[in-house]
């Protein structure tokens, strides 16, 4: 199963990845990062898997997401 | 063996161009403007012969920035222009100074301000010696008075530019650029082979951009946003300028031991002043001459030394009075400094200078 890894300290909270995840698996974290913004996090959903499309990583302006397959 | 002539006739502009080639310059970019057109014309023919690059740029701005790039890439690079064109180049010169890149800029001065005219003038002294562009920086300024000296100082300009990683201005005027004089034969074939190609340089430039192969990337910049960083950079620049001031002052003095009146003139003007000095001395008036060769750093020492001993300095310029300010600073108020100058392409004649000398001598 593909997997993404989010570097929460690089996240500036633009949330482009959330907008582009076709499976809706990225959400806003409630805890602030060191920059003082709420970064994104991967949220597992029942019966919905990451498909490794890398859309999130492609649109991330801050190289904050890695994708593993 | 055939007896070869040791000297040959050449115009100042062409002599400067060939001297640059001889000094290892392998990149020239320029834009046409009278009275320096012989420089780009000569370079367009000569550069390909030595494997160098000639570009007629779309503007003086582009030309100086091409030189900026070529210099960053490690090659000895030059541009030339005349007064209005040099005004346009000031942006690039400031960046060269800020980035500590070597380059030679030739200004064959003409009358100003504005479009002015195409006759010889010396009205860019302030621009050349006091900065010209924005920021706290200095250019080394060399002012040749003969075509032979134009050759020698052009070569020196490249060496100083590399030595100090700083732009150097060769400041001539339309008279020097246009006239033909005998100069010593160039020694082109005797140049070491390594200097014949495009990347010729005298020393290894450990800052040049060549691609980050087997080393860390190099960055050439003049932007420093961190607190205090720019101030430290500027301090380093200023330290360099102090070193240049202590080591690179150049002047020629005539009859400094016994004169009552000392003429001060540079470049073409110094030639006329020298004639006036000779004539005055033939009439028994003890006149000497200081001819600054480096306008920055300004050779202040002889002025201060002579201040107590002489009656008057007489500064003669093809301007409304620019170098006179440096002479006044140099004498620290201990001597009287007079001025005679003409502008707009008029050159003070020997007779006019003699008249001034006679007035002072009364």
């Amino acid at each position: 199963m593909p997997k993404i890894k989010i570097n929460r300290e690089k996240c500036k909270a633009c949330y482009l990845c959330i907008a582009h995840c076709p499976k809706g698996l990225i959400v806003i974290d409630s805890e602030l990062n060191k920059m003082g913004v709420k970064p994104v996090k991967f949220q597992k959903k029942k019966d919905v898997d990451c498909i490794g499309c890398a859309f999130c990583a492609l649109v991330c302006p801050d190289c904050g997401i890695e994708v593993f397959k | 063996m055939s007896k070869e002539a040791k000297k040959f006739l050449i115009t100042g502009n062409e002599a400067i161009a060939e001297a640059a080639i001889q000094a290892g310059c392998r990149f020239y970019a320029g834009y046409p403007i009278t009275p320096q057109n012989e420089v780009p014309t000569y370079m367009s023919r000569r550069m390909p012969e030595v494997g160098g690059v000639f570009i007629q740029a779309e503007s003086e701005l582009a030309a100086i920035n091409m030189v900026f790039g070529a210099s960053a890439a490690g090659t000895r690079a030059m541009t030339s222009s005349s007064s209005p064109g040099i005004s346009l180049k000031q942006e690039g010169i400031s960046y060269l100074a800020g980035c500590q890149l070597p380059a030679v800029i030739v200004n064959i001065m003409r009358g100003g301000p504005g479009l002015g005219n195409i006759a010889p003038a010396q009205s860019d002294y302030f621009q050349a010696t006091k900065g010209g562009g924005h920021g706290d920086y200095r250019c080394i300024v060399l002012a040749p008075s003969t075509v032979q000296e134009a050759v020698d100082l052009t070569a020196l300009a490249f060496d100083l530019a590399d030595k100090y990683r700083n732009p150097v201005i060769v400041l001539g005027d339309g008279m020097l650029g246009q006239m033909m004089e005998p100069v010593e034969k160039f020694k082109m074939p005797a140049l070491p082979a390594g200097r014949q190609n495009l990347k010729c340089k005298t020393d290894k430039k450990l800052w040049e951009l060549s691609g980050a192969k087997n080393r860390k990337p190099r960055i050439i910049r003049s932007l420093f946003l961190g607190e205090g960083v720019l101030e430290n950079w500027n301090k380093a620049l200023q330290n360099k300028y102090r070193k240049i001031e202590s080591e690179e002052k150049r002047y020629e003095g005539f009859h400094l031991d016994d004169s009552k009146i000392i003429l001060v003139a540079y470049g073409t003007m110094a030639r006329v002043a020298k004639e006036a000095m000779r004539e005055a001395r033939s009439h028994g008036i003890k006149v000497g001459l200081i001819r600054p060769i480096s306008l920055w750093p300004f050779p202040a020492e002889p002025f201060l030394k002579l201040s107590g001993k002489i009656k008057r300095f007489l500064v003669v310029e093809m301007s409304a009075g620019q170098m006179i300010e440096d002479v006044r600073l140099a004498v620290e108020g201990r001597a009287k400094v007079d001025f005679y100058g003409r502008t707009g392409g008029s050159i003070p004649s020997k007779e006019e200078i003699l008249r001034q000398i006679t007035l002072i001598n009364k």
Partner: protein
């Protein structure tokens, strides 16, 4: 099984692992990455000399692991010309914004293109001056509000959005011009292809290659990042049609 997972997508090697100074959602970060991806894939990192512009991207060298030089505002292509002529074996590219390339540097842009210099140009068009506070750019759209067009750009006073890529495409010296955008993952994939092509052309000695990238400036467009990306797609790309121009 888990341990054998392969990295499928990550930061390109020639891009430093560093937080950028760009605003959230700014397109510069994406374009920086695309350049580094192209450089890595073509294995030219050791040959690259980049010219950073004046504008938000002046600090690009803080993120790129190759030689870099700053150029005065608008002069990037003159500087690039100097470098490339001296070092034809190196891969020289400029990274320029709309103000840099299409306003203050128009002459340098046109003449460098017209000389057919073997250079790569990454032209970032976000229709606004970012670094100085959101003023009108040559590419600002009609009606678009900026700090200096508070009532919206009016062609009677400010002229029209400048289609400089179309202008360049007609020049004999130009080899390749393509307009792309970073408005969506699909567009970013196309943009990457174009950027790589522009570098490949230089490697092959083909001549002047320019990629115009429609990019976002959420801060000075007064939009949220996603909204800004949508605006590129729905508004900007209408005025600046995507696709290969030459």
């Amino acid at each position: 099984m888990k341990k054998n997972k392969q990295k499928f997508f990550s930061r390109p090697e020639s891009m430093y692992d560093r937080l950028t100074h760009y605003c959230p959602g700014c397109g510069h970060g994406i374009i920086h990455r695309l350049i580094c991806e192209a450089v890595d894939e073509l294995k030219i990192r050791e040959k690259v000399i980049a010219i950073a512009p004046v504008g938000c991207a002046v600090l690009a060298y803080d993120y790129w692991d190759f030689d870099c030089i700053e150029a005065a505002h608008g002069r990037a292509l003159a500087v690039a010309t100097g470098i490339k002529r001296v070092r034809p074996e190196n891969i020289v590219f400029t990274y320029q914004g709309d103000g840099d390339l299409a306003a203050i540097g128009t002459a340098e842009t046109i003449h460098t293109a017209n000389r057919g210099e073997n250079l790569t140009v990454i032209f970032v068009n976000n229709a606004v001056y970012g670094m100085t506070g959101g003023q009108m750019a040559p590419t600002t759209l009609l009606g678009q509000k900026t700090a200096t067009t508070p009532r919206g750009r009016d062609n009677k006073n400010e002229g029209f959005p400048l289609k400089i890529s179309e202008m360049l495409a007609i020049l004999d010296g130009v080899k390749y011009v393509e307009r792309v955008s970073v408005s969506s993952p699909q567009e970013i994939i196309k943009a990457k292809k174009a950027v790589k092509q522009a570098f490949q052309n230089q490697v092959d000695g083909l001549g002047f290659s320019l990629v115009e990238v429609l990019s976002s400036c959420p801060t000075y467009w007064g939009m949220k990042p996603k909204q800004a990306m949508d605006w590129i797609k729905e508004v900007m790309a209408k005025r600046f049609p995507l696709g290969r121009l030459k």
